[in-house]
Subunit: 213 residues, 2 copies
DNA sequence: TGACCGGTTGACTGACCAGTCAATCTGTCC
DNA sequence: GGACAGATTGACTGGTCAGTCAACCGGTCA
C-alpha cells in the first residue's frame, strides 16, 4: 500500500465532518446527539473526540471553512472592473450556486449559524459582519461613482441585500418557494433586480446581468 | 378589596410571561432555565407549571400573542385604499414601532422563533408564512394595477421585503446598525425606498410615504 | 368554625447526553 | 519479533434541568 502517515486511506476527520452536515441538516444541531454523527459516519463515538474537542467545534469548523470561501469570493468580486450591479449579481450567484451544489451544508450554515443569532451567530458575529462590510464597500463605491443613489447608507443597503438573499435561501430550505435549476437562476436575477431596480414600475431599457425570464 | 376570582390583584400569569421576555432576551431560550424565569418573576418554580404546560408553551404564547397582532395589522393595511408603496410603509412602520416599543419582545420573537428555523420557526411556520402571504397579496394587487412590475413573483417580492425588514431589526438587536428614534424613522423610509425604488440612481420626482431625512 | 379550593411553594426525580478514559487494534520501524 | 505511536473502540460518569408532586397557604362561603 503506497500511503504515508500524512495521507490515510480514508480521512476519518472529513468523514465525520460530512456526516455532521447531513445530521445537522436533518435533525438540527441542538436536537442531534454526537452519537448520531458517529453512527452516520460509521465510526465509534470516541473517534469524534479524537478529531474534535467538542460538538460545537464541528459546527465551527464547517462554518469557517465555507464562510472564508465566501469572504474571499466577495473580495475577489469587488476587485474586478465591472459595474456594481454585476458585482452584486456575482455575489448572489456565488451564494445561490453554493446552495445548489451542497444544499445541506448551506442549510446548516444559514439555519444553525447565520440565523442562529443567540448561539453560533453570536460566536461568529465578526465573520458574518465581514461579509456585510464587503457588500457595503461595493455599495459605497457605487455611490461615489454616482451609479447608486446616496441617500441610503451602504451598511443599510448591505443588510437589505444580504437579508433578501438569505431569506430566499431560507424559503427554499423550508419549501416556501419552489426549488429547481430554473428557479435558482431566476432568483439570482430577481434578487438583484429587486434590490437595485426596485419593485416600482418604470421604463426599463437597460437590464444588466442575467437574462430576464 | 374589591376583586373577584376572575381578576386577581396581580396577574401572575402575565408576570411570568413578562419575566420570560426579559430572560429570553437576555440569555436566550435554550440557555436559560425555567428557574431563571421564576426568579425574574419573583414566583416559585412550580407556579410556572401551574400556568403553563412547558417551557416551550411560554414562548409559543408570547409569539402567538404578538404575531396575531401583526397579521391583523397586515390585513387591515391591505384593506385600506392607499397606494401599495404606502401599504408597505405602513407594515414596515408597524414592525419598527413594535421594536421601538418593546425591543425585548421583538428580539425574542425574531431571534427565537422567526429566525430559529429548526426549532420554533418550524413549529410556527404556518403562521409566519401567513405574514408572507399577506405581503404577497399586496404586491400582487399592485402588479395587477400596474404600479409594481410584474416580472418578479409576489411570493418572491414578499420574501425579499420581509427579509430586509427582519435583517434590519437583527442589525439593531446585535448592534450592527446604530439605534435611536432618528434611525428608526429613517429605516422605515429606507427599507421601502430600497425595495420599491431600488438602489439604482434614477430621476426621482415622486417620493411617497415618509419624508426623506 | 371548619370545609373547600384555587393558588403557591420548592425539594426531588428521572432522563438525557456531552465528554472521558482505559483498553484494544493496526501499522511501522529497528 | 517486539516495541512504540497513533487510530479506534464503546462503556461509563457527572452534571444539568425540565417537569412532578405532596404539602401548605389564605380567602370564601355555609
Amino acid at each position: 500500500m503506497a500511503r504515508t502517515n500524512a495521507e490515510p486511506a480514508v480521512d476519518k476527520r472529513r468523514l465525520i465532518l460530512d456526516a455532521a452536515v447531513r445530521v445537522f441538516a436533518r435533525q438540527g444541531f441542538h436536537t442531534c446527539r454526537v452519537s448520531d454523527i458517529a453512527d452516520e459516519a460509521g465510526v465509534a463515538y470516541g473517534l469524534v473526540y479524537h478529531y474534535f474537542d467538542s460538538k460545537d467545534q464541528i459546527l465551527d469548523t464547517l462554518f469557517l471553512e465555507r464562510w472564508d470561501i465566501l469572504l474571499r469570493a466577495i473580495q475577489q468580486v469587488d476587485a474586478e472592473e465591472i459595474p456594481p450591479r454585476e458585482k452584486l449579481y456575482a455575489i448572489t450567484s456565488f451564494i445561490v450556486d453554493s446552495y445548489r451544489h451542497d444544499p445541506d451544508l448551506m442549510q446548516v450554515i444559514i439555519v444553525e449559524v447565520t440565523r442562529a443569532a443567540n448561539t453560533f451567530g453570536r460566536t461568529h458575529l465578526a465573520h458574518i459582519r465581514e461579509a456585510y462590510y464587503g457588500i457595503a464597500a461595493i455599495v459605497e463605491r457605487a455611490q461615489r461613482a454616482g451609479t447608486f443613489r446616496s441617500d441610503i447608507t451602504p451598511d443599510f443597503a448591505a443588510l437589505a441585500f444580504y437579508g433578501a438573499v438569505e431569506q430566499v435561501l431560507t424559503g427554499w430550505i423550508f419549501a416556501l418557494l419552489p426549488t429547481g435549476e430554473r428557479e435558482y437562476d431566476q432568483a439570482k436575477t430577481h434578487i438583484v433586480e429587486t434590490i437595485c431596480g426596485g419593485l416600482d414600475q418604470t421604463d426599463r431599457t437597460s437590464s444588466t446581468a442575467g437574462r430576464a425570464d
